[in-house]
Symmetry: C2
Subunit: 89 residues, 2 copies
Amino acid sequence: MDITQIIGLVAGICTSTASIPQIITTVKKKKATDVSPLMFIILLAGNSLWVWYGIEKSDFPIIATNVISVILDLTMLFLRIRYRQKTNH
Amino acid sequence: MDITQIIGLVAGICTSTASIPQIITTVKKKKATDVSPLMFIILLAGNSLWVWYGIEKSDFPIIATNVISVILDLTMLFLRIRYRQKTNH
């Protein structure tokens, strides 16, 4: 593994795990009315396309980290829908 | 421009512009207490590293779209700090 791959992996770990603090904040507050669901829908589309791009380019850091992102985007979307009812409280 | 580059650009446009709905939501509500600031700090680090990775690999879609992401991450962080005072309202 060369230095470029390491940069890519660290970059990808940051951009993939960035939504973890948001997921924790949401689970703790059981509230996400200030969070834009559209943001996570667009992220889901984008991360899925990055996986495709990574496959086309045989680029391991892109594939690996975007697969994680897709899983986290789906988790956040699920939470946003689950806590939707809290909007009017 | 080949099909792979187009996939990369569309992917990057999605993941870069994903924070625009969040920025609009925040500006409209003048409130972002449910939004995790740590999320945007990690994103900023990750997107900056992706720019570096893109330069190393001479990968145009990665460079272009992550430069946009860095600008938007900084915008969202600024808004999160600006509306911090609203926490106790």
